[in-house]
């Protein structure tokens, strides 16, 4: 075996579980980068207009992940912000809906629609954690990439992530690039088309724990041996708790994982009792997280199962989208309008006898 083969073998073995989806070598560098931010002494139409950008990029986060059409996958890029109503919003939701109300989404500064109400993350453990109109897509005050107090402002926080991206089953999550959707430290299973198509057996899978983090402990949010913010639980709810700590901590729900709760619990197992036993088929209206990261999506939900890939864990995203939704408070259904507005109350997916 010659040296090149050894290198290839080591690279394969070195890739953690999950499917490597680093940028296709066939994609031209110029799809994303520009050397001079100038072509024939002008800007190309596909470039952003507020450059030049870091790392010789042609645009910023929103610039690349947005579209003036209704399509949510454009040239293979997942679109999180359509300026026209999206026809098939992706799993995280779509910032388009911020146009309805500030309360319909996370008002990241890149969208240019600041929140007129909130001046801090509701439920924040630290006052002044993220100030008014300071929330960004990534970095210190954002969600994606390295959330380092000093060194991660802007696009630098996800440096290399696209090039090294791994998707599919992500059960290591010790780097941005092998974390679920570049949410540093978060485990999960990434659906290959971001749920542009979806069904009970075609979806993301989120990682959940059986006990929420104790956000009174620094290490809950500042974990992984890195300066900055990473949820020690490596769950999607733990990730939310890094900003909304009072809502999703063990003390915030009442001190333990048994009813009665003082806030709606997350990172607790859906009980295998009473009305909850009826939730046996994965429901996109109110999805559950899994106590173990699956290698593929499953339509099976097993209340009471807190150990395997078909288990059921309540999570923030059981009720909320991440980016923005058509509904008040980024909910997955028109909860505020129920019952007068008709339709199904997503609460009843779990609370099946309260309809």
């Amino acid at each position: 075996m010659n040296g090149l083969r050894w290198i290839i073998l080591l690279l394969i073995l070195g890739v953690p579980a999950g499917r490597a989806e680093a940028i296709d070598p066939g994609i031209a560098c110029s799809n994303c980068h520009t050397i001079h931010y100038s072509q024939d002494n002008t800007l190309l139409a596909q470039w952003g207009t507020t450059g030049p950008y870091e790392f010789l990029l042609i645009n910023d986060c929103i610039g690349c992940h947005s579209s003036s059409t209704s399509d949510t996958i454009v040239d293979g890029i997942p679109i999180v912000y359509n300026t026209s109503a999206p026809t098939a919003p992706l799993a995280g939701g779509n910032f388009y809906y911020l146009a309805i109300s500030d309360a319909n989404g996370h008002n990241v500064v890149e969208i240019g629609n600041p929140d007129d109400t909130l001046i801090a993350p509701p439920g924040a453990v630290h006052t002044g954690q993220v100030g008014q109109n300071e929330l960004t897509c990534s970095g210190n005050n954002g969600c994606h990439g390295v959330r380092n107090f000093s060194a991660s402002v802007g696009i630098i926080s996800i440096k290399g992530a696209h090039h090294n991206n791994v998707n599919g089953q992500l059960d290591v999550a010790d780097q941005v690039w092998n974390s679920y959707r570049f949410l540093n430290g978060v485990k999960g299973y990434e659906d290959s088309d971001w749920q542009a198509t979806s069904s009970a057996s075609d979806h993301n899978e989120y990682f959940g724990a059986t006990t929420p983090m104790d956000t009174s402990v620094c290490g809950a949010c500042h974990s992984g041996g890195q300066i900055g913010i990473r949820p020690s639980s490596q769950t999607i709810s733990g990730f939310c708790a890094t900003c909304h700590g009072d809502f999703h901590s063990i003390s915030g729900i009442g001190g333990d994982t048994t009813s009665p709760f003082i806030r709606h619990p997350t990172d607790v197992v859906l009980p295998n009792s009473g009305e909850f036993t009826g939730y046996t088929t994965y429901d996109l209206l109110a999805p559950v997280a899994r106590p173990a990261v699956p290698a593929s999506a499953s339509n099976i939900v097993e209340p009471g199962n807190g150990t395997t890939e078909t288990g059921a864990v309540v999570m923030c995203l059981s009720c909320h989208y991440a980016h923005a939704s058509p509904y008040y408070k980024i909910l997955r259904w028109d909860y505020r309008g129920w019952p007068a507005g008709g339709g199904q109350n997503g609460c009843n997916v779990c609370h099946r006898s309260k309809d």
Partner: protein, 448 residues
């Protein structure tokens, strides 16, 4: 041919579906919560501090705050700390403080527009002069009145294998908050009628956190007084001799009344011991099958007022005499019974049992007895009201006690027998109470 068969099959399927809808009615299309008073989109829960955010009436958030925060602050009432079951106020604190009262009060209610709830005497008895108009008020009666004591209820239900815990709200002993209906619904100053009925109670012994398993009691066949007994006789409505409880119709057999005997005897029975904090003793056991006011028959004859008359074999419902929440009288005794209000307030209930000498001359309980039993005045207008010579000693068809040995019961007075004899009448309650039997004077009769 095949096409004909297919059309026939489609027609059958459609007919089956339609018949199913008709069988279940509109009610089946919505769940228990949407059929409840709290979940109704016209008159359901509507907290003032939540409605301003645009939440629909009947929405969960009017009671449950998933995060104890909206837009970064806790909606009113803001106690500073979240409450169990994500409720907006502590589930239960004491007899007059707790979650339910935050809305079920006519003044200071968090329910937009306030909330009026009437007594059973008002809603079923038709006594619309009753000024009691909210649940907090009903549970605020203390001596000489009485209230269903919530601390004791919670202690009791927690001790039963019914799934209650120390965190349970004692109101949920009788009410499923996700199912309870108004009776009548959305009619705070209305009385029950055959067309405006709802069903507010659920049996504690059937309690479940699964709301559609812990159904309402009284709303289904088999859950009515007419199912409990064929001997039920409905009392009159207030100031009427043609309209009967509970809905003012001419129905008298209990087919329109929840089987409250089965409901109440989940707790008040012969097996379970219930400690009463206000009374400082255990409540008397209820053996309704073997009590004369229950399924057991009278001895010899009965001297009742209309509509009971002299017909033997009648069985009463608990609610014919008792309020469920509170009353200005002792022992939750209604202020209006069988068509009229009591002549006075019952401030005292005896704790001792059938023990001579009977030196207790309190006549208050007679105010209740008068409503259904003939007193001396009913026999003879030359006699006195709320005296009971005839039914005990003469002329009633069933006078069990000789009028010749007065001192067996009466410890003062003297003179020839008669309704106006110069002997001091004694407290009915000495000899008549749930479970009472005359073992002292030798008849061994049931006396209640």
């Amino acid at each position: 041919m095949d096409r004909v068969r297919i059309k026939g099959a489609i027609l059958i399927v459609i007919l089956l579906l339609l018949s199913g809808l008709l069988a279940f009615g509109v009610k089946a299309l919505a769940g228990v919560f949407l059929n409840s008073a709290h979940g109704n989109t016209t008159y359901g829960v509507y907290r003032t501090s939540i409605s301003s955010f645009g939440y629909s009436r009947g929405n969960c958030t009017h009671c449950h705050e998933q995060h104890a925060s909206i837009d970064g602050t806790e909606p009113a009432p803001a106690s500073g700390t979240p409450s169990n079951y994500t409720l907006f106020y502590d589930n239960y604190i004491n007899q007059t403080d707790g979650f339910c009262y935050q809305c079920h009060t006519d003044t200071g209610s968090y329910q937009s527009g306030g909330l009026v709830n009437r007594s059973y005497s008002y809603r079923a008895g038709g006594w619309t002069a009753d000024t009691l108009n909210d649940i907090l008020e009903a549970f605020s009666f203390t001596s000489p009145g009485s209230s269903h004591w919530l601390d004791d209820i919670r202690t009791f239900i927690t001790g039963k294998p019914w799934g209650y815990t120390q965190d349970s709200n004692p109101c949920t002993a009788c009410h499923n908050p996700h199912a309870a209906q108004g009776d009548p619904p959305n009619s705070p100053d209305g009385t029950k009628s055959p067309t405006t009925r709802g069903y507010p109670v659920s049996r504690p012994s059937q309690h479940s956190r699964v709301s559609n398993l812990w159904g309402l009691w009284g709303d289904e066949p088999g859950e009515r007084m007419s199912d409990y007994t064929t001997g039920y006789q409905a009392p009159y409505r207030y100031n009427s001799t043609t309209a009967y409880e509970p809905d003012g119709s001419s129905t008298q057999d209990g087919s329109n009344l929840t089987d409250f005997v089965t409901f109440c005897t989940d707790c008040h029975n012969t097996v379970d011991v219930i400690s009463s904090t206000p009374l400082g003793r255990n409540l008397r056991p209820i053996d309704w099958v073997n009590e004369k006011h229950g399924s057991f028959d009278a001895d010899g004859a009965l001297s009742g007022d209309p509509p009971y008359g002299s017909i033997m074999g009648r069985t009463l419902s608990c609610t014919d005499c008792h309020e469920p929440h509170g009353s200005p009288n002792q022992a939750l005794i209604r202020a209006e019974v069988n068509g009229a209000t009591l002549a006075g307030t019952i401030t005292t209930i005896e704790a001792t049992d059938f023990t001579p000498p009977f030196a207790d001359y309190n006549k208050e309980l007679g105010y209740l007895c008068q409503r259904c039993h003939m007193d001396d005045y009913d026999f003879n207008t030359n006699c006195q009201q709320n005296r009971w010579y005839y039914v005990h000693h003469s002329g009633s068809g069933d006078p069990p006690y000789s009028a010749m040995r007065c001192w067996n019961c009466h410890d003062s007075g003297s003179g020839p027998p008669g309704c106006n004899a110069n002997v001091t009448s004694i407290n009915c309650n000495i000899c008549h109470y749930h479970g009472s039997v005359d073992t002292i004077l030798g008849t061994n009769r049931k006396t209640f």
